[in-house]
Symmetry: D2
Subunit: 341 residues, 4 copies
């Protein structure tokens, strides 16, 4: 029963099949192939707008390249203190931007609010003396599996706009957010004011594939130079584009996310019935955060339940349980049986 990470399980068979099919014959390398062109069109259709979408290899690279394009070296980027860009990418925002400041903010359930930003903004509005406010970056779904509503996003976009900043969305779990909200991809991105999206696929069935999506093509300016320079322009690009195309095809991405979201509901419900256990953030996407007595943690582990110990506070531990579309049914069944016994 492995609930440690979205990345514990591998790739969906449909993705591997698409890779194998893309392997026929020769193709122009470095992205001038037909599959990549088709992907571009597909993304525009998915987002109901003519977008510029660039495939890259990892989520850290997607975020780094997006932020490096939006923020100048002397810029400031506002995000949640536990966001992936804040503490799980080893300073990629600084690396790709050439030294922009990442400003970490507290916020309930992994979300930041306009008020949280406004509370520190004066510190970064001292003319040339402070790093220049440049980007607000939010994760959708968040690191805690919660989901921003369209109006929450719009409020952040409004602040960004009025202060000369851009709004970036880390969509490593974007499919889970769309699936949860039952909205269109457009409604929680450009229609709500998002400028650039890191569109994730690796955590939801792809082998390794993400895309940086610019809703205003003019903002993509020099993106391709930055992608090449950072070693993210795949020579055999068709293999990257083919994964994303298969992922978007037949609404697979949303169907897969629906499954992992649903599994999270089941797992969360059952786990929270454990004595003294309680779910500490609302379960909206594919993650369950549960506070447990330490002895319960050890009991689960002895029974073969694998999960990430997020934080330990004295007698209690917060465990993170992540569900994947590829989590086998039998793992869920076994967990349920275990908890009933």
């Amino acid at each position: 029963m492995n609930f440690t990470s979205d990345n514990a399980y591998g790739a969906a068979p449909e993705i591997l099949k698409a890779i194998a099919e893309a392997n026929a014959g020769a193709a122009v390398p470095y992205g001038d192939d037909e599959i990549t062109a088709a992907l571009q069109r597909r993304f525009s259709k998915v987002f109901e707008r003519d977008v510029a979408a660039y495939p890259v290899l990892t989520g850290t690279a997607a975020n780094g390249l997006a932020l490096g394009t939006l923020a100048p070296p002397y810029g400031a980027i506002f995000c949640h203190e536990q966001g992936h860009i804040a503490v799980d990418e080893c300073g990629a925002p600084e690396f790709f931007s050439g030294g922009a400041r990442v400003v970490s903010l507290k916020g309930t359930d992994g979300k930041i609010t306009p008020d949280a930003i406004k509370s520190v903004l004066p510190l970064y509005q001292r003319g040339v003396h402070s790093p220049k406010p440049s980007v607000i970056s939010i994760a959708q779904a968040t690191e805690f599996g919660t989901v921003y509503r369209a109006d929450e996003i719009a409020a952040l976009a409004h602040l960004a706009n009025s202060e000369g900043m851009r709004l970036h969305m880390d969509g490593a779990r974007f499919a889970n957010a769309v699936a949860f909200l039952r909205c269109t991809p457009a409604e929680i991105t450009w229609k709500a004011g998002v400028d650039v999206l890191s569109f994730g696929a690796s955590k939801n069935g792809a082998l390794c594939a993400e895309a940086v999506v610019f809703f205003d093509k003019a903002m993509a300016r020099d993106f391709e130079y930055r992608r090449k320079r950072s070693g993210q322009l795949l020579s055999k690009m068709r293999f990257l584009s083919a994964q994303l195309l298969a992922y978007l095809d037949q609404d697979r991405w949303l169907n897969w996310a629906r499954r992992s979201n649903a599994l999270a509901q089941v797992v969360g419900e059952r786990l929270s019935m454990l004595p003294q256990a309680h779910v500490i953030v609302p379960i909206e996407a594919n993650e369950v955060f549960l506070a447990l007595p330490n002895e319960q943690v050890r009991a689960l582990q002895r029974a073969g339940v694998q999960f990430y110990e997020w934080e330990r506070n004295g007698e209690r531990t917060i465990g993170r349980f992540v569900l994947s579309y590829l989590t086998p049914d039998e793992d869920i069944t076994k967990l349920v049986q275990l908890l009933q016994s």
Copy 2:
């Protein structure tokens, strides 16, 4: 009555005299001159230890170069959220380090504590996933004119040491701190565990002169390459070294700091007698932070009192009054008279 900044007033006559005297004849450029060699010896004497001291031109450069030497590009630097390196140097730590993370912490009276650092440290101890904890940086005196006691510094050094970090001290107002504590320079630096000091002179009578002081020469490794590369190696270095030598000579630096500290006591005492006014942080160095009703602020300004409006909260304003050794006596007298009337 100008109390806006340490930098509002110019250079001490003794400093200008030293520059003029250094101007005789030819000298080897770029720091291989005799004045610079003498300065090196003087710094070692002042600190009771064989130190490596490098003159640079501004405080931002001193801090940036010190931090860039101590922190790798993938490192994390912990400091107070209102520290100069945090919000007054436009991202210099990121620039000089090649992209290290600056982590801002809250703390009473402008100081940070081991506990404040420990509360966020787990976020930065996730192996290669998070920026690596590398430096603790404190200002002595702080941005608010408060002064770390030797044991407070030692506690931070202990934490730094046990977690594989270095301790940097931003000493833009170092003279004021030493003067306030009536200690030796060594006691609040290397004897308390400080690894590198940005030794300031510009805010206390120099024209433009700071020095980066390494207490362990081995840590200075590649400092000289970094200084050259950033345009901080002065060709006519003797003019920089001469300022610092004159500054250290005859205890001028401490005498000057004693004067500005004393003026701050006088000004603070008088200002706090204003109706509804109160000093919001202890006055230890040469700064007074005072909360005032807005109408009082306007009245002072109308009367010709210049100061910096640090923060406005509704009906009240926090004013910052900075005293310099060069603040004329008559300004103090005028202020006192004004407040008595």
Copy 3:
């Protein structure tokens, strides 16, 4: 008949099979899986030494990360003026190193010599005034498909050593070089003085897989932080390691390189029989560089022969023909027939 690039053709079936097999069940993400551990052991066996090998996603990243680890920001890197790191990676060495200088040198057949480096070295030995000589970087095989002999490498290593530099080898076509020289991998790397190797697989049958191989593990110091920070630490690392393991298995890498080398000999031989055509650099690996009258170029293109126009000089063009292990036999047959007609 596509001879444009090593990357025109896709992935070997054996590689895709390895990926599919790696897909079973759950695994620890980010490189702590068993396949990656097995790869580590395999690399040590291949190189007859306990090495530290880190899988990454592209050749540009492998070179950038290797150079960024070896060269300080103030360092200088010496390479051939037409090397991949010089003009095909959009400044990746500067990006990954935080601003080291790339010094381009002329050299026959794509190779650099100790003398070429010595001729410019004094410009970079002015103490802190010039970038500090830090790395010699050579490509094996070179951009022109020529191959350094072991003694040529040793001579460069000797110079590197005596001047405090490191020797890096860009082995995007390393298999072709080993196949051509009929030597062991060790003989042209650490035994000849190479410190770090970018070990390529993508150009020779992999989907996307390279590795950075440190022969002295101590030099790898902070490599893992740099890899993570640049978005090159794959979450589902097993898919990357599986490719490399399959590539090394059963000497596939060398067999595949032998085939593409042999095809280059055939193609070179036949093309050079064209009127006024001549091969301009020795054909040693899998590339043919041929000077042709422009009308011949057009005739070939009309007949469906695709290749890269490397350089045009008036009436003549230098064409580059690259052979892949995956170049179909029928393409060769068709080309031979075409040239005979």
Copy 4:
């Protein structure tokens, strides 16, 4: 007899006087003072155009900041292989630009030509694969004391323009060039197509003062953020501006340069009469490059003549003799007497 460097001698008395006069009373720090405003107007008058001029502290910083503003991190900068930015600033262009490529070119008498650039340009015009040609940077006067004529500059500007690049001029010895050409400052800068000038004063009588002059203010965009971030925004800016104002006042800068140019003519003439000695580049500004038998070098040194040994080739040495406006008359007299004896 010290002819080692422009920086061997100190500051002109007029400059020190200006500093002393600027020291009266309080002033707004960080460049919002009246002297800095006056300097802005003066620069516009000197250049017959409304320019944006930013004082900085060293020549390396002036060049680095200018290039960092003009070149993106993925850009390429073309310059002479012995230019100051190439080999005397320890990689400052890379540092300030965040990793642009410096491309070194050969060229007679320290100058580069459009043809030299065109010969390598194709290597940097491979779309996203190569660093993007962004800046041509020339020194006026050059590192060898030669001077570009207006039409030579215009030809480089034409090339820059037609290839989407900017033209930067390193004017560390700009006064010497204007004095030699007897032209207006405008004629060899913006009228000839220069976009940005590093205007030097330190080598010609200032204590430490340079300025970056943008002829198109729009190009200065984010310069002030970059200056602050690199520790080049002086708190007591009036002292920097006062030097430059005094330098420009009463045509001092040109008069001083006329003197050092004239001294170079005298020294060059006399030295070249030494047996087997010959001047190797035309003496146009304040430098003399002389090839001498090694025994002559030793004889001069024994007689107390100090100069820089630029290069040694077997039996002969190239010596560099630099004249300053501050070189004492008696040194010249002594040298002349020595050579006559």
